[in-house]
Each structure stands twice: as structure tokens, then as C-alpha cells.
């Protein structure tokens, strides 16, 4: 009796201890690097932080002030948001009719088209960036916002389409039929039936496209520089070309804050199915 009880207790404990442990590990997995990044961004230059001190001796906002005053980081933040916003709108406009056709109309070769639209995500980013850059240069769009937005849209459309196709597919046919029976024309059907049903997918797709554009590095690096600067390219100048950890930390946090805020606000819209749809099941 006592043995059975203790076995049950162990199982109960395990049932709650294991997820607790996983959550603790995950929080450490994400939280410790973030906390370190914060600490590094606030190291006082007069009291360097080096081995074997586990924590910096003195914190100050010197590097934050330096980055904000001496570099055009705010301009980069502005152009990042501008490019991401335009990319999202353009991707949405391009993806909507195509996803409707792929999701609702039983066209021949739908499977083939669905594979085709994933190509930009599969081909090597650097190779595509360099030679897309050459192509845009021929078109006179190198180093312009238009060129960068067009290039980002190339990466945004597949995400948007993949999620929208899944949303269109999951609209029940009865609803559409009922609407047509009641006399709804194509336009009314679209606005009253399809649109509300695909709205969550649309929100998820837009968030994906927006964040993807915010963090796109290769394309901006090749096509945008030297005129168009976004946060990732500024970050690369402190991380890849020369290594300035404190300044890189400041710029990283400037890049992370909008992304993670957006994620927190919209978390409930991004269902796991959409993530799976956008990423897996090619």
C-alpha cells in the first residue's frame, strides 16, 4: 500500500518536475546569453571586464550613449522598419491571389508550384544575394531602397504564400457553398467568407515576413550598401569586420527589442501549425 502510494507520488512528482526542469533549462538557454549581452552593453570602458571576473566591475551607459550619438543607428532603425513594412505589404499583395489559386482551385500541377515557390528559401543566400545584386545593378536599382525592398520581397513572398495556402486550404467548402447558395458573388464570398477565415494566417504570415526582413543580412549587405543601412549591416560592421563586443552588444539589443516585442504582442496569433506550415512539410 505504502509502496504503491510512493510510486504514485514519484510519478506525480516526475510529471511536474520534468517540465519544470525543461522550462528552467530553456530560460537559462535564452536568458543567460541575453543577460550577458545586457552586461556587455553596459560595461564601463574605464573598468574593463576580463578573465577571471564573472561580472563586470562597474556598469555605465557609455557605449549606449556612444552608439546613439556618434553613429547613425537611429537612421538604420528607421530604414529597417521602412524596408520591413514595405516588404510585408508588397509580399502580401503578391502572395494573396497566388495563394488563393493554390489553396482553393484544383489546378493541375499545384504540388509542383508549391515546391517551386520555396526555391528562394532553399537556394544559397549568399549566391542569390551576389547575383541578384548584379541583376539589380543592371536595372539601376543597386544601393536604392527600391532594390532592397524588391530583394527582401523575394524572400518574403514564399513565407507569406506558404502560410496563406494552408489557411485557404483549411476554409471548409460548405461555408463557401452556403454563401454561393445564398447568392454571394465572388467578391462578396471573398470579403465575407474567405477573408475572416484566413485572417489569422495573414497576421502570422505578415509577422514572419516582417521579422524576416528585419533580420535579413545577406541581401542588404550586398545590394543596399553603401547607401542603404539596416540594423544587421551596422551590427556586422562591429562583429564581422572588426570585433567590438560592447558596441555589437548595444546594436544587438537595439535589433532584438523590436523583434521580441513584436513576438510577445502577437504570440497568440502564431499558432504552432503555422510555424510548422511555414517551416516544414515542404
Amino acid at each position: 500500500m505504502a509502496k504503491e502510494f510512493s510510486a504514485q507520488l514519484t510519478r506525480k512528482l516526475l510529471r511536474y518536475l520534468v517540465p519544470f526542469a525543461i522550462i528552467v533549462i530553456l530560460v537559462a538557454w535564452i536568458g543567460v546569453p541575453m543577460a550577458y549581452c545586457f552586461l556587455w552593453s553596459a560595461v564601463d570602458p574605464d573598468y574593463p571586464w576580463s578573465y577571471p571576473d564573472p561580472l563586470p566591475q562597474k556598469l555605465s551607459l557609455f557605449h549606449w550613449r556612444y552608439i546613439l550619438e556618434n553613429t547613425n543607428i537611429l537612421g538604420a532603425v528607421g530604414s529597417s522598419f521602412f524596408i520591413a513594412g514595405c516588404t510585408t505589404i508588397l509580399s502580401f499583395l503578391l502572395a494573396l491571389p497566388t495563394s488563393y489559386a493554390l489553396g482553393r482551385r484544383q489546378l493541375k500541377g499545384t504540388g509542383f508550384f508549391k515546391t517551386l515557390m520555396l526555391l528562394p528559401l532553399v537556394l544559397p543566400g549568399m549566391a542569390m544575394a551576389i547575383f541578384l545584386g548584379r541583376m539589380l545593378m543592371k536595372m539601376g536599382l543597386s544601393g536604392t531602397y527600391t532594390g532592397v525592398i524588391l530583394a527582401h520581397t523575394l524572400m518574403g513572398v514564399p513565407y507569406m504564400m506558404r502560410i496563406l495556402v494552408v489557411s485557404f486550404e483549411s476554409v471548409p467548402q460548405d461555408l463557401v457553398d452556403a454563401a454561393s447558395n445564398l447568392g454571394a458573388r465572388a467578391f462578396t464570398r471573398f470579403v465575407e467568407v474567405y477573408f475572416p477565415m484566413v485572417l489569422p494566417g495573414l497576421v502570422a504570415g505578415s509577422i514572419f515576413t516582417f521579422i524576416n526582413s528585419m533580420e535579413e543580412f545577406n541581401l542588404t549587405f550586398i545590394i543596399g550598401l553603401p547607401t542603404v543601412k539596416t540594423i544587421p549591416t551596422v551590427l556586422f560592421s562591429y562583429l564581422g569586420e572588426s570585433f567590438a563586443r560592447t558596441r555589437a552588444s548595444v546594436v544587438s539589443l537595439i535589433l532584438l527589442i523590436p523583434n521580441l516585442t513584436l513576438l510577445l504582442i502577437t504570440e497568440r496569433f502564431i499558432k504552432t501549425e503555422y510555424m510548422g506550415a511555414a517551416l516544414g512539410k515542404m
Binding site: 511536474y16 520534468v18 517540465p19 525543461i22 522550462i23 530553456l26 530560460v27 535564452i30 546569453p33 550577458y36 556587455w40 571586464w49 577571471p52 564573472p54 503578391l94 491571389p97 497566388t98 495563394s99 489559386a101 482551385r105 489546378l107 517551386l116 515557390m117 532553399v122 537556394l123 544559397p124 543566400g125 549568399m126 549566391a127 542569390m128 551576389i130 547575383f131 541578384l132 548584379r134 541583376m135 523575394l154 513572398v157 521579422i211 533580420e215 543580412f217 544587421p232 551590427l235 570585433f243 563586443r245 555589437a248 552588444s249 544587438s252 535589433l255 532584438l256 523583434n259 521580441l260 513576438l263 504570440e267 504552432t272 510555424m275 510548422g276 517551416l279 516544414g280 512539410k281 515542404m282
Partner: protein, 285 residues
């Protein structure tokens, strides 16, 4: 009358494909065409433009092979490491309470750009990072490890794992979740034990997703530029890096185009062989 209307509707459907797919194909065809043309010496910016095969002849040198092998090595190691951690974890998480919290947390690294991920993990594993301090304090090692820019690429591998394990976990979790409860119940009714349910239902139903997620991570890592550039070894670096250096530092655009072509060919052939093998595996299951 009816057939005529049907036919018109049919064509209209194909027209709808144009905005999305047309856009993608236009730019991809342009970029790929440019790459192929430049690899044969056309559209040359730094020298006279004429058709020639000399760039293709000189491409298979030692640097190229080393870089290609490095890219493949990191990609294979990272995708195997990720699946070994993500697959069991997805199965465990499904069984537990609090899965929503876990999933919300897991989504976070996916929204952290590769450059930032690289910096975050470098802060941890550097000479004076917390990892080395803990290991030295616990007296597991005497000297702090020098993981950054190490010759094998451990740092790059760790960063890739940090970034890609959550990605894989999301895919695997949606696969595990998609296994319908009634199928499991039916098997249990027919007398299958826990182990039989696992090996004969859950594994066969989630294996396709596992195979797909492995190749997705493989491609992401193989195509990577920034992580190995910032944290990886100095000499054999990624093939993307070689291409960028050849184009922008040496101004040798045709050779860079050859490298790009070979990179695409390697990736495509790897994926095709993998797809063929995984189809065989799934058929034999």
C-alpha cells in the same frame, strides 16, 4: 455554354498564379542566369567580357575543396546534433503539462537573427565567458578553453545548434501533435503495449517530418555565411565566404560565379540523394 464557362475559369486560375510565382521566377531566373553567364566570362566587370571556359578549369583548387568540406562537415554535424536533441524532446514535451509555456519559450530563438545569436553565444563560450569560468571553478579544466575561431569549428557548431534546435523542435512538435489520438486508442484497444504504440505508430508517423527537418537544417547551415564568418575557423571557412571574398576582395567575379554554381549543384544533388534515400527508407518501414 457550360463547358465554355468552365474553360474560362480554368485559365483565370492560372493567371492568379502570376503575381506570386511570376515574381519569384523572374528574379530567380535573372539571378541564376546572371550567375551562369558570368561563370563563362560574360558580363564581366573587371576584365574584357567574352565567352571562355578558363574560369571553370581553375576552380577546383585546394581552397575550394577545403571550404566545401568544411561547409558540408558543419552542416552534417549540426543537423544530426539537432535531430538527436529535438526529436526526443518533442516526444517528451507532448506528454507533459506546461507544454504551452515551453513552446512559447522555444519560439524565441527562432526570432533572433543569426548575427545576434552568434554574438550571444560567443559571449558565453569566449575565453572569459561564463562557461569557461564555471568549468575552471569546478576544476574540470585548468585553462579556459579557446573555442572562438577554433580550427575545427566547435563554436560555429554550437551557435548553429543553439539557433536550429528550437526550429527543429517546432517542426517535430507539430508532427507529434498531428498523430491522432484515436489511432493510438485503437492500437491500445487491440492490445498494443506502450512500446508497440511508440515503435509502430508514433515513430512511423513522425519519421517523415524528422527526415524533412534534418534536410532543412542541413540547407540552412550549408548556406550560412555570418555565423562561420564571425565565430568559425579562419582558414577553412564556408563556401559562401569563399564566394564573397573571391567576388569582392579579389574582384574575380567569374570565379565567384563558378563557386556559386557549384554550391547550388552540391546542395541540389545532396538534397536529391537524401530525398531518394529517405523515400526508400519510408517505403521499407
Amino acid at each position: 455554354m457550360k463547358t465554355a464557362r468552365k474553360k474560362r475559369k480554368f485559365e483565370w486560375g492560372y493567371l492568379l498564379l502570376l503575381p506570386g510565382l511570376g515574381y519569384i521566377l523572374f528574379f530567380l531566373a535573372g539571378a541564376t542566369g546572371m550567375m551562369i553567364a558570368q561563370s563563362f566570362g560574360l558580363f564581366n566587370y573587371t576584365a574584357e567580357s567574352r565567352f571562355s571556359l578558363e574560369y571553370w578549369k581553375g576552380i577546383l583548387n585546394e581552397t575550394f575543396v577545403d571550404d566545401l568540406l568544411y561547409s558540408l562537415k558543419i552542416a552534417v554535424c549540426a543537423s544530426l546534433l539537432c535531430i538527436c536533441i529535438a526529436y526526443p524532446l518533442a516526444l517528451i514535451i507532448k506528454k507533459l503539462p506546461g507544454e504551452r509555456t515551453i513552446l512559447s519559450l522555444v519560439k524565441i530563438p527562432m526570432f533572433i537573427p543569426a548575427l545576434v545569436a552568434s554574438l550571444l553565444i560567443l559571449n558565453i563560450i569566449d575565453y572569459h565567458g561564463i562557461l569557461n569560468i564555471i568549468l575552471v571553478r569546478l576544476q574540470i579544466i585548468e585553462e579556459p578553453l579557446r573555442l572562438r575561431n577554433d580550427s575545427w569549428g566547435v563554436a560555429a557548431l554550437l551557435i548553429q545548434a543553439w539557433k536550429n534546435i528550437p526550429f527543429m523542435l517546432i517542426i517535430m512538435y507539430s508532427a507529434v501533435e498531428a498523430v491522432r489520438r484515436d489511432v493510438i486508442d485503437a492500437a491500445r484497444n487491440l492490445g498494443a503495449g506502450r512500446l508497440a504504440v511508440f515503435t509502430q505508430i508514433i515513430v512511423p508517423l513522425t519519421l517523415p517530418s524528422a527526415l524533412v527537418s534534418v534536410i532543412l537544417v542541413f540547407i540552412r547551415v550549408f548556406n550560412d555565411y555570418v555565423i562561420s564568418k564571425t565565430a568559425g575557423p579562419l582558414y577553412p571557412n564556408t563556401i559562401s565566404n569563399l564566394m564573397h571574398v573571391t567576388a569582392y576582395l579579389y574582384n574575380d567575379w567569374p570565379s565567384a560565379a563558378c563557386i556559386g554554381c557549384l554550391m547550388v549543384i552540391t546542395a541540389v544533388s545532396f538534397v536529391s540523394v537524401y530525398n531518394y534515400l529517405s523515400k526508400k527508407l519510408l517505403q521499407n518501414l
